[in-house]
Structure formats: structure tokens, C-alpha cells
Symmetry: C2
Subunit: 337 residues, 2 copies
């Protein structure tokens, strides 16, 4: 009897290309706005801002603002400035995060704080926040201002929450979810909510877009967390181990800690709470996670939020932009394979 | 022949009490709003925020919003939230400044960053900025949002400008004025401008209030700069020498450096650019400043801006609140004696 090799139908890897393509003309104008609005006679401001902004981030958040505006047939111009404002809010958060986390690297380049100092990172972040609000005010929609200013406060609250819970291996999954809802998903949600608001859609559609963004944001962060330990595949990315070395408590750790033996818990406490991380410890951490399926289940949890994101869009009629937004969810999750 | 003792008519020291008294009922509501809006389930937020907010700042900036609203007979409620927002913007700036300047003390207490770390100071500052914008949005005046969000960007720009010019003894008086216009006077100006805007006054009155605030802000900062070297009197305050030890270039230094000998310039370079400050150097610095009348002339410059602030209010009819605002200018300047 021969060995039967199952013939797996090859699933095409979900792509984000169609979303990128559909919003490309608008995104060009967002990029021009971003460039124009980082301008200042104080030369350090465009230097620091563009170091990060031009470093190849995916611009996923502004893309969502453009996508939801298109989904809701918004005929105006306001979405371009709001998308740029969303990217500025995100960039400001990254600049401040690097100071808070004392990170050396960001997106494979030296962090701005390593080149210009913590001072510049704090202050240029503040400048970008100020410019973000100026652009929102120029668009002139008070409901959009409400959504985005609330997000700004919630994001900062989430960051402080994370700081308070830092290095605490006892963190529950719920507590962790509360942190990422605030620090990551709130901006995804706001970015998606302003599209239908600008387009003067009804409450149901506004709530649907918000829900899409919120759940996509949670899924996105969970996949990032899994990727930091190599995801569910065996290949390790260039940023593998950053969270581990910084003592960050993420869902893979929460699951592995709870499911682990006393000996394994002692390992996590030593590495994450006391910060005693040796050469071989990252491999050991990944091995413990694999043993308890912590990475697979983190991806599984992400899939759950991804489904909620997809379902939220159900009330919209089929369209290329809707399909591209659904594909984007799959893409976000498939990064972990 | 007996000794003739000149009988000097005793000038009453100008007081800020009448301004404080006139806005007291509104200020109570501002204080309640501040307390309510620093609330968060994340306990570190009210702890850090209130450490600074309750540390006995004069709340001059929110007082100006209340005063200009009263000057323009504003009958509504929006000025209370805008005044609280102005104080939050100011507090956020102080929290971030302490990180940037690596200050140990603030208002005679340990700086928040010494108690909770730089991370908390950065993030709670961001939270307060977010809350400030939320409050402005709640008031719902787009012109006020425009004024305050522009101020936020300008303040950050001024801080970066100061950072770029830091420790540069070649700084000109003009360059220094550009910094304090942005980092200090812009918020005074915005705080004063929103009063007449809320009261739907015309362009002339809005410009007048803005000019009052801007020039009062410049005068206020110049006096602070002089006070850091003991002002024009011989008695030294508790914060004397902070700017000197931090290598900050302020107007007294700019004037003393330009008017000084080569030997004196070498002294300033060594102390401020290289940061080599010995025990006796503050006294030496003050002596050089006195020799060149640098402190007296800084106060004199402040008086010039104070006059502009007073003249700006001329188009308003006499009233107790107007008189109190005029007295406040004198008070701000008289601090240096």
C-alpha cells in the first residue's frame, strides 16, 4: 500500500494589492498632504518627521479612512486631510513609544530618538499631533473631530495602562485585550468611522465601519504579537524577539504562562519581570509557546476578531472596495503564516 | 540744619487679586472640570496629572480665558471648558518639558518624571492633550478649535526651535523672541482670543484680546527669565539659577554676551555651551549681568511688551474686569522687583 499524499488545494495568499490599488489616487494626495504638513522653518521638524514617515510604513490606517469613504460613496475632499491626520496621530504615537520603550530601532532603521535624542522625539510628536488637529479642524466636521479627539485620549490612556501592567506576567487575557483595544484598535476604529460620517451615512453604517476597524485593529495587533515570536511558522522575521527582550506582556506570553508548569512560569518571570534574558532564552521561549500552542491560538484568536470585522461589513452591498476591505482582513491575518 | 528725608509717595504694589476675585466663581467651575477630566480607571493618570495640577500653579492662562470672556460679556458656558482645555495644554507642555530638559524639580516639588518616570510624563501629557481637544470639541466652536489647535502646533514648533538653538550663545535677541513668542506667548494669545470669539465679537476686539495675550505672554516670559537670575533686585528666589545650570539661553544671557568682553564671552561659552558650571559661577554670571545692566534691560524690554498689552485693550470701555486685566500686566512685570 503506497503512501497517500493528501492533495491540498492551493489557497491563493490573500493580498492587500486590490485595496492599495483602489485607493491609490487618493493616497497620492494623502502623501502630498503629509509632506506639505511636516514642513516647518524649524528644519529639525521635517527631518525627524520624515525619517519615520518615509521609512516604509504600510499606511494602513490612512488607507482605511480612504477605503471607508469610498465604500460610502463620499464625494468630497475631507477624507484626504483626515487620512493624513490619522497617519500623523499614528506617527506621533510611534515617536513617543520609542521614548517610552527606550527602543533603538523602528521599522528596521535607527529610531529617531537615537539620531536626534529623546527631546526631539517627544517634541516632534507633539508637533505632529498639533498638525493633525489643525487638519481635522480645517475639514470642519465636529462629529469627526469628536471621534478622533476621543481616540487620541483613549490611545494615551491605553499606553499608560500598558505601562502600569508592564512586566506583569499575571496579566489576564481580558486585561491585555483592554490594552490593545485602547492603544491600537481605537485608532483603526476611528480611522474607519470618519469615512461614513463624512459621507453622512446613518448610524448603522457608521457603527458597521467602526466595528470593522476595531476588530481589524485587534486582529492586526494579535498577529503582530505572534509574529514577534516567529508567528505560527518556523521562520523568524527580522524583528523577532523585540517584545521578549523588552519584557512586553503580549497574548502569546499570557497563554503560555497560564498553560505552563511552575518551572516554565519561573522562566517567564525571570525573563520578563527581572529582565534576565540570555542568548538561548528566545529559542526557549518559542519552544514553550509551541508546546502549549500559544502562538497558534493567538492566531486563532485573531481569526475570531477578523471574522467579526468581516461580518460588520455585511450590510454593505457588494462592491470592489468592499471585497478589497474583506481581503485586507485575510491579509492581515495571513501575515502570521 | 536738619536732615531732609525725602517723602516718597508710596506706590501700591500692583496686585492680581482683583482679577482673581472677579473670575473666582468661574474658576471654581474650571477647577471642578479639571478634576473631573483627569479622572481615569487607569489610576496612574489622575496621580501624575494631579501631582502637577494641584501643585499651586497660578492658573494664569485659564484665568485669561475667563477674563476675556467676561470682558466681552459672554453669556454662555463654553469658556469654562475652554479654560480647562488651556490649562491641560499647559500642563501637558510642562510634563513634556521636564522630560526634554531632564529637570528634577517643578514648582518646588519633585518633577513627575522623577516619581513615575519619563514614560508616564510623556504619556500622561499625551492623555491631557487628548482630553483638551475633547473638551474643545464639546464646546463646538470651530473658530476656537482653529485657534487652539494652531497654538498647539506652534508651541511644539517653538520648543523644537529652542532645542535647535540650545546652548548657542550666538543667539540673537530676535531669534530668542521668536522662540518665546511660539513656546510661551502663543498659548497666552490663544487663551485670550477664544473669549471674544465665543462672545461673537468683531475682528477688532478679537485681535485686541489676542494682542493683549501675546504681549502679556512675552512680558511674562522675559520677567521669568530675569527672575531666574534674581531679577533686578538683590534677593534671590528659590529657583534662581535653574536656567543657568541647564545651559538655557535667555534674554539676560543674550544681552550680557553681546555687551561683554572677550573674557566674559569665554565665561558664558564655558558655562552654557560646555556646561562647566562651578559653585561660584552663578554669582559670577549675575555680577556680569549687573555690570552690563542685562537684567534691568530685560525688565525694561518686558515693560515695553506690557505697554503693548495695555494699549491693546484701549478699545474696550472702562469696566472692573478691564481694570483688573490692566493691573495683571503690571503685576506680571512687578514680580521682578
Amino acid at each position: 500500500m503506497g503512501v497517500v499524499v493528501a492533495f491540498e488545494e492551493k489557497q491563493p495568499t490573500p493580498q492587500i494589492d486590490s485595496l492599495v490599488g483602489l485607493v491609490a489616487p487618493d493616497m497620492e494626495r494623502v502623501n502630498a498632504t503629509i509632506l506639505a504638513r511636516t514642513g516647518s522653518d524649524v528644519t529639525m521638524i521635517p527631518e525627524v518627521a520624515n525619517h519615520l514617515i518615509s521609512s516604509g510604513g504600510k499606511r494602513l490606517r490612512p488607507m482605511l479612512t480612504l477605503a471607508t469613504a469610498a465604500l460610502c460613496d463620499y464625494p468630497g475632499e475631507g477624507h484626504v486631510k483626515l487620512a493624513a491626520a490619522v497617519e500623523f496621530m499614528h506617527t506621533a504615537t510611534l515617536l513617543h513609544d520609542d521614548v517610552v520603550d527606550e527602543s533603538d530601532m523602528r521599522r528596521g532603521k535607527l529610531a529617531a530618538r537615537m539620531l536626534w535624542g529623546n527631546e526631539a522625539s517627544v517634541l516632534v510628536g507633539d508637533f505632529l499631533l498639533g498638525q493633525a488637529f489643525k487638519m481635522m479642524v480645517e475639514v470642519g466636521s465636529l462629529p469627526c473631530l469628536d471621534v478622533l479627539s476621543t481616540a487620541a485620549a483613549v490611545i494615551a490612556e491605553g499606553e499608560v495602562m500598558q505601562l502600569s501592567a508592564a512586566k506583569d506576567t499575571q496579566t489576564t487575557e481580558d486585561a491585555y485585550l483592554a490594552v490593545i483595544r485602547a492603544k491600537t484598535a481605537a485608532l483603526f476604529a476611528a480611522a474607519c468611522e470618519v469615512g461614513p460620517i463624512l459621507a453622512r451615512r446613518g448610524r448603522a453604517e457608521i457603527a458597521a465601519c467602526r466595528s470593522y476597524g476595531l476588530n481589524l485593529g485587534i486582529a492586526f495587533q494579535l498577529i503582530d504579537d505572534a509574529l514577534d515570536y516567529g508567528g505560527s511558522s518556523a521562520k523568524l522575521g527580522k524583528n523577532t524577539g523585540d517584545d521578549f527582550r523588552e519584557g512586553k506582556i503580549t497574548l502569546p506570553v499570557v497563554l503560555a504562562f497560564r498553560r505552563g508548569s511552575e518551572q516554565e512560569r519561573a522562566f517567564w518571570r525571570k525573563a520578563l519581570e527581572q529582565g534576565e534574558v540570555g542568548e538561548a532564552d528566545l529559542d526557549a521561549a518559542i519552544a514553550i509557546m509551541r508546546k502549549h500552542r500559544a502562538l497558534e491560538d493567538t492566531v486563532e484568536r485573531a481569526r475570531h476578531y477578523g471574522k467579526m470585522a468581516r461580518d460588520a461589513l455585511e450590510l454593505f452591498a457588494p462592491s470592489p472596495i468592499k471585497q478589497a476591505m474583506l481581503d485586507a482582513v485575510e491579509f492581515a491575518i495571513s501575515r502570521a503564516h
